[in-house]
Chain length 227, copies 2
């Protein structure tokens, strides 16, 4: 069908983007900031790892709770629509009619269409869920999948800026090396993000990279200022 050719990134891709955007940026900025005020790599690594652990759990559990809430919200609205269709069918029919009239269909035809839709209770409720409330049926395993995808993407992203501090002997070397590989990683990530979200490639790639750089500059400046 034709809508498949419209750009529509999957939940998985969306979660990878959520996790990796912050994962590449925040640990990069934090460690860059600290490299300006600390002489040795050890504390930079400790801070970076703490931040990555905190970020993984905060964003991963956040994704889990958001997914769970989505399922619960859908289920409670579904229950409510079934009840309403049962208890106040006339009111619900008028709502369906109003939706059609709003679409540009005349009153008489809206009545007929509504009558047909309301023949099958499940189709009727489906209609209310999608067209009145704008809710799509969420995947039941969405919460756990989302949590794991976001957390691992954050972890993978966060390890890139941190890695140089593990393999260099001082903060300056670590800082330069971290800047180089993280900016490269931001450009690659920005490129793929732009591709899957259907944005102009150059503009989209630069936006992602500049966000990471802006965060690092701010963290660096602030750390210098308060030290």
């Amino acid at each position: 069908m034709h809508q498949e050719t419209h750009i529509n990134s999957s939940n998985f891709v969306r979660d990878v983007i959520i996790g990796m955007s912050d994962g590449l940026t925040v640990p990069f900025a934090l460690t860059a900031g600290l490299s300006g005020v600390l002489d040795t790599n050890h504390l930079i690594i400790v801070s970076g790892l703490s931040e990555i652990a905190a970020g993984c759990i905060s964003m991963g559990l956040g994704g889990f709770l958001a997914g769970q809430t989505e399922v619960e919200h859908y289920d409670s609205e579904l229950k409510r629509e079934y009840e309403e269709v049962e208890k106040v069918p006339e009111t619900e029919r008028q709502e369906v009619e109003a939706i059609f009239i709003d679409m540009g269909v005349d009153k008489e035809l809206s009545k007929q269409v509504t009558l047909q839709i309301s023949q099958d209770k499940h189709k009727w409720v489906d209609f209310m869920m999608r067209f009145e409330l704008g809710l799509d049926k969420p995947d039941k395993d969405r919460a756990i999948k989302s949590a794991l995808t976001i957390a691992f993407s954050y972890l993978a992203g966060g390890f890139i800026p941190l890695f140089p501090y593990l393999v260099t002997s001082n903060n300056q070397q670590g800082f330069y090396f971290s800047c180089i590989i993280t900016v490269i990683a931001l450009l690659i990530f920005g490129y793929f993000k732009s591709k899957v979200t259907g944005q102009p490639l150059l503009k989209g790639t630069l936006k992602v990279a500049l966000t990471g750089i802006a965060a690092a500059v701010a963290a660096y400046a602030l750390a210098k200022m308060v030290s």
Copy 2:
């Protein structure tokens, strides 16, 4: 109208929740983690401030770009639908019919309704945008509003766990004080978040608080381990 009584948190509230969830959690976890390995508050404060600056910018600019992409994506799909309605009206009419047949409307009536909807080109495109693609018209100022709301919420959230290290004289005092006020803040935030998202209050409140605590425990354990 009846759908107004359904729970529907606004974009503003959603952005406050996005910013504050991570703002309360990640700086809390990071500073708690560092308080286990650093003797003085100074470096904890420097790290905390760097993290807040990085988080604000990363999440704020992230929100800005997401909002911008949403507007651009909507506009490009809109343009495309106008073109399709112009160039291949029959194909587009068949798509509308297919949507109605899927709703439980018979073939004949679907044809009639489709004919009426396609009388007005704007209503027709509106229909395709909402019912075929599931896209709602985004607010043009959404990107900048979203960016500022997320960034300030992160800042406000992040300052709560950091504040105790500014007013106490050592890491242990700072840690205890930070845990107390942050857990209280998490409970209050969790309560309001559950209220606006329509979740069970006790369960919702505890979920938010436990997420923050879990992140702090993980960061603390990891920092101790690698030190």
